[in-house]
């Protein structure tokens, strides 16, 4: 540290220079969103996270779907149907589990470590803290786990399966994977605002996904239709252009509503957090 006299001299110079700094725009609801979003997104793209994530998802999603394409017997249409019914449902489930595992500590970790309290002592709104994480994790996952593997899948299948695969329906199917991911992301973040340890968050999130995968047949239709569990079937149906039951938009609308509700609940709960 410098001596006091030097400090005083510095402070005089500093105060003179202070006038040149431009204060951030004051936004009550989303104060410091830009700064926190930049930091969150930097944790994806400024570190090795991005390529590790791409590697994992390409290996899992493209690896398995390519093996299915190479080993499945039947007409090209049958092979494409089989591969699509593997790739998109597997994407919804695996990316959902990946999201829960990765995001479980996003809020709890900061509460435990004390960094959330530090950030909240700055002029940062609590809503911006949650939304910065939501957007950064959504973008990170969509690019590394959805867009890149889906693009590789589309190119690979065009080479391996000699039957046309329409672009727009495929994009629609991939879009549902993204909505599914956003559902599990907002669920995990919401749970993070309620709990103070990772265990319950991961437990509830993964149990929810596994219930949909294993017990879907036992759940009443009226309940099933408003959950994300039908999304894998709807996604592959849309991508293949097969006829879907007339109620197919309902889970999409319901999941979108759940995303909004869970985000609102997370914001409400985090506003009441005591650090």
């Amino acid at each position: 540290m410098t001596t006091p006299s030097k400090t005083i001299l510095n402070q005089d110079l500093i105060l003179a220079a202070r006038k040149g700094l431009v204060p951030v725009r004051e936004r009550a609801r989303l104060g410091s969103f830009d700064n926190m979003f930049r930091k969150e997104i930097g944790q994806w793209w400024g570190t090795r996270t991005w390529w590790v994530q791409i590697l994992i998802w390409v290996l899992i999603l493209n690896g398995i779907s390519t093996i299915v394409a190479l080993t499945e017997a039947g007409t090209p249409e049958e092979v494409l149907q089989e591969v699509m019914q593997t790739f998109l449902p597997m994407s919804v489930g695996a990316i959902g589990i990946g999201t829960v595992i990765t995001v479980q500590g996003a809020i709890v970790g900061e509460k435990e470590l004390g960094t959330a309290a530090w950030v909240m002592s700055k002029p940062a709104s609590r809503a911006a803290f949650i939304l910065a994480k939501t957007f950064a994790y959504a973008i990170g996952y969509w690019v590394t786990a959805i867009i890149i593997p889906s693009t590789i899948f589309f190119i690979t299948m065009r080479q391996l399966v000699p039957t046309p695969l329409a672009v727009m329906p495929f994009i629609a199917g991939v879009g549902l994977v993204a909505i599914g991911q956003l559902f599990y992301l907002t669920l995990t973040l919401m749970l993070g605002t309620f709990f103070s340890s990772r265990g319950p968050i991961a437990g509830i999130g993964i149990a929810f996904i596994m219930t949909g995968l294993l017990l879907k047949g036992f759940i009443p239709f009226q309940v099933l239709i408003v959950t994300p569990w039908p999304l894998p079937d709807v996604a592959s149906g849309l991508a293949l252009g097969t006829e879907l039951p007339s109620v197919w938009p309902i889970p999409i609308v319901a999941v979108s509503v759940w995303i909004v509700i869970m985000t609102a609940v997370a914001l409400w709960r985090f506003e009441r957090e005591e650090f």
Partner: protein
């Protein structure tokens, strides 16, 4: 600086309870601008709770507080724009370097220009002696280095109020000395409100002190007033050479003298005179003694307490209630 009646911090009946247990009970506090205000109390007294409420990190269960005349509950963001805060156990993102942490902190307050933000970061690194460690990950920082970084980040926005929660607790004597030097240097530009249990530090740098115990304010006064007694009952020590018996009668008969105790030793008499009126004592006490021409006054002065004594007395009184 917007203040409430010249006070940077003004709390009224500020209270906090956790599951029915009172952590802070009806705190009334005034902190004037450009002062160094020491907030004292034993562990669990409610110091950190108060600080967290001022920053909007926890919410009061009753009462209110104004910082710069703004309500901490309604205008928390506006308050935090003008405050620098160092937590008791400061924690930062471990993957970031000191420079990145300061840059991130600065970006909460300033959108640019980039070169001025970088210059400010550089100044803070220099001020806290972290320049040579600026690009090292915080993960490997010692407690003292984290504290220095904490002081740097608390000042990055030229705060009008700096709130420090036990700023010197984890520092070695040199580190403590440096922190106190920085606080004294900053007095000209800002108000410093800090909690501590290191009484020696408070006595050295503070203008005013508040003592908290079991969530209750037990004393609040300028440091000199606290150390000299409460003004209504000052105590004067006088050492006299010679036969002081007549002078003792004369002094003891004064209406402003509360009590007088005398102790003789080796031809000297030492008096301890408790008075109800300090002005009268300062005007007349010495003259009354000197009426006896044979007497020699060897020492005369108002008794001052040290802060530890005051603190222990006040906290002890509370305990015995």
């Amino acid at each position: 600086m917007n203040t409430s009646n010249g006070n940077v911090i003004h709390t009224q009946g500020l209270s906090k309870a956790y599951k029915g247990v009172k952590a802070l009970d009806s705190l009334n506090l005034q902190v004037s601008a450009n002062s160094i205000f020491g907030f004292l109390g034993p562990n669990g007294a409610g110091k950190s709770t108060t600080i967290k409420m001022l920053l909007g990190l926890t919410h009061p269960t009753a009462g209110k507080a104004l910082v710069f005349g703004q309500d901490i509950a309604k205008d928390s963001l506006a308050v935090r724009r003008r405050v620098g805060y160092l937590a008791q156990d400061p924690r930062y993102y471990e993957h970031m370097t000191a420079r990145q942490t300061l840059r991130y902190t600065a970006r909460f307050f300033y959108s640019g220009p980039k070169e001025l933000i970088e210059a400010r970061v550089e100044e803070m690194l220099e001020l806290t002696g972290l320049r040579d460690k600026a690009d090292r990950s915080i993960k490997g920082f010692s407690g003292g280095e984290r504290q220095r970084l904490g002081i740097a980040q608390a000042q990055v926005n030229y705060p009008d109020l700096i709130i420090l929660d036990e700023p010197a607790a984890s520092l070695d004597p040199q580190g403590r000395h440096d922190v106190l030097a920085v606080m004294e240097a900053l007095r000209k530009y800002t108000t410093i409100f800090y909690s501590t249990h290191i009484l020696e530090d408070v006595q050295r740098v503070s203008d005013s002190v508040a003592i908290l115990n079991h969530g209750k304010l037990v004393a609040e006064a300028p440091i000199d007033e606290l150390l000299n007694g409460d003004g209504a009952a000052g105590v004067y020590n006088v050492t006299i050479k010679g036969d002081a018996s007549r002078a003792q009668k004369r002094v003891a008969s004064q209406p402003w003298v509360h009590s007088l105790s005398a102790e003789a030793n080796n031809g000297h008499t030492t008096w301890q005179v408790s008075v109800d009126d300090n002005d009268a004592a300062e005007d007349q006490l010495l003259l009354l003694i000197m009426e006896d021409r044979d007497l020699r006054v060897k020492s005369f002065g108002r008794k001052t307490h040290n802060l530890e004594e005051v603190f222990l007395n006040l906290v002890g009184e509370e305990k015995s209630k």
